[in-house]
Symmetry: C2
Subunit: 230 residues, 2 copies
C-alpha cells in the first residue's frame, strides 16, 4: 500500500493519498485547494489514476480541493450523506466501502465535530477526520456539532477499534503525525472523563475563537471549493 | 514498534522517537532543543525510559536537544565517530548497532552533506538524516560536505536498500512525511544524474544561502546544545 500524508502549513491540515500500488488507482482524503498542484504532481510521477477525492466533513478552516481535482482529472468526488451539498458525485454512509483497486476503506459515521463527520477504516489504521485528534478531539460548537454525539462516536465506535490501530487525524497543531487507539485511550485528556455528561460539560466549557477562514471556507466547501455552482 | 515522527515548525526538522513497546526503552534521533519538553511528555506518558539520544550529524539549522535530554534523564548521548565533539558519551561507526530493547538500528556512514553524516536502518525503514531527503538531498557546501562522497553514500549505500524501504528524513520543507527508496530512485530529481561527475556539478552549481541559525547552531551543537562544557 502507498499511504502518503501531506501537511498543509497554513491550516495544519493532513491530506492523505492512498493507493494499492504505483500505476494503479489513487484516493485523496481531505485535499486542500491551495495544494492541489502538489497532489497532482505526486499522482503524476507515480503514474496513478485519481479515482476519488473525499472530504471527511465540510471543513471550516481551509478550502477543499475536491472541485479542482475533479476538474483536473475527472475523478469522482464524495462526502457523506449528511453533508449538505450537491457538488459531489457520491454520497457515502456508514457501512459503505470506498474502493481503490483492491483496497477497501470502511466508512464509519462519527458525528460530533459536525453532523456530517465520517471516519475511514483500513485493516491497520483509521483516518479520524476532526473527530479524534492526537491528544485532542474536534471542537463541537458550530456546524451542528454536538458533544454528546461526539462522545458516542468516540467511545462506541473509534475507541472500539483494536488498540494497535494507527490513528491518522485531519489536523495536528503540535508537530505530531500519527498515534494509536491505545495511546489515545490512555493519554488523550478529553477521553479521561467519567461519562458522557462530563464530556458534554468539558466541551461546552471550551471558549474557542471561530476559525479564521470559517466564513469563507464553509460556503466554499459546500460547493467543493469552487466559486460557481459545480 | 512505537515509531513517532515529530515536526519542528521553525526549522522543518523531523525528530524520531523509537521504542519496542510502552513501558520499555526509548531512543530519540535528532531532537530539537526547544521541543525537549514535548519529547519528555511523550516519553513520560508512555512510561518509557529514554536510554539514548542521537544526532545523525552536527546540524547547522537548529540547536540539538542532546545535552538537555541527558541532563533531564541521564540518558546516553551519541554522535558518529566523525563528529568533532567530546560532548557525547558514545561515538558510533558504520556497522555498529543502536539497541533499544529488542530493536536494532544498523549504523551506516553516509557522508556528503557533512563529513559526519550517518543513517540508521531498521528492517522496513531507514532514517536518512540530511543525506537523502524526499525528492531532494542535503546540501554539500559547508561543514566538510562533499558531493562526490554524497553520491557514493546515496548510490552505493542508501539506494541499495530494498525498494520498499520507507525513507524518513531529518527534514522536509514541503509537507511530506515519508517516502520509499523506490520512489526516490525513480522521482528524486537529484538522483537522475548520469554519473558521479554530473552529480558533483549539479550540487556545486547550487547557490544557497547559509542557514539562518548556522553561526549559532554549529558551535552549540558541538557542545550538545549546551552553553558551557558538558
Amino acid at each position: 500500500m502507498i499511504f502518503r500524508q501531506f501537511f498543509d502549513h497554513e491550516s495544519s491540515t493532513y491530506t492523505y493519498l492512498i493507493a494499492e500500488r504505483m500505476g494503479g488507482e489513487a484516493l485523496l482524503i481531505d485535499p486542500v485547494k491551495s495544494n492541489v498542484d502538489q497532489y497532482m504532481h505526486s499522482i503524476g510521477e507515480m503514474e496513478m489514476k485519481l479515482v476519488l477525492a473525499v472530504d471527511t466533513h465540510i471543513h471550516a478552516d481551509h478550502v477543499t480541493g475536491l472541485g479542482d481535482l475533479r476538474h483536473a482529472t475527472g475523478c469522482a468526488s464524495a462526502m457523506g450523506e449528511m453533508s449538505n451539498t450537491e457538488c459531489v458525485s457520491i454520497h457515502f454512509k456508514e457501512g459503505d466501502k470506498l474502493k481503490v483497486d483492491n483496497l477497501r476503506l470502511d466508512v464509519l459515521y462519527t458525528p460530533g465535530h459536525t453532523d456530517d463527520s465520517y471516519s475511514f477504516v483500513l485493516p491497520d489504521r483509521v483516518l479520524t477526520g476532526d473527530t479524534l485528534l492526537i491528544r485532542g478531539t474536534g471542537r463541537t460548537d458550530f456546524q451542528n456539532g454536538d458533544p454528546a454525539d461526539q462522545y458516542d462516536s468516540l467511545f462506541d465506535k473509534l475507541l472500539r477499534l483494536p488498540d494497535k490501530t494507527l490513528v491518522y487525524p485531519a489536523h495536528d497543531y503540535n508537530g505530531m503525525t500519527v498515534s494509536t487507539i491505545q495511546e489515545e485511550k490512555l493519554f488523550n485528556p478529553r477521553l479521561q472523563v467519567a461519562n458522557k455528561q462530563a464530556y458534554v460539560e468539558l466541551m461546552n466549557g471550551l471558549q474557542l475563537d471561530n476559525p479564521r477562514l470559517m466564513d469563507v471556507a464553509v460556503p466554499a466547501n459546500r460547493n467543493c471549493g469552487l466559486k460557481s455552482a459545480a
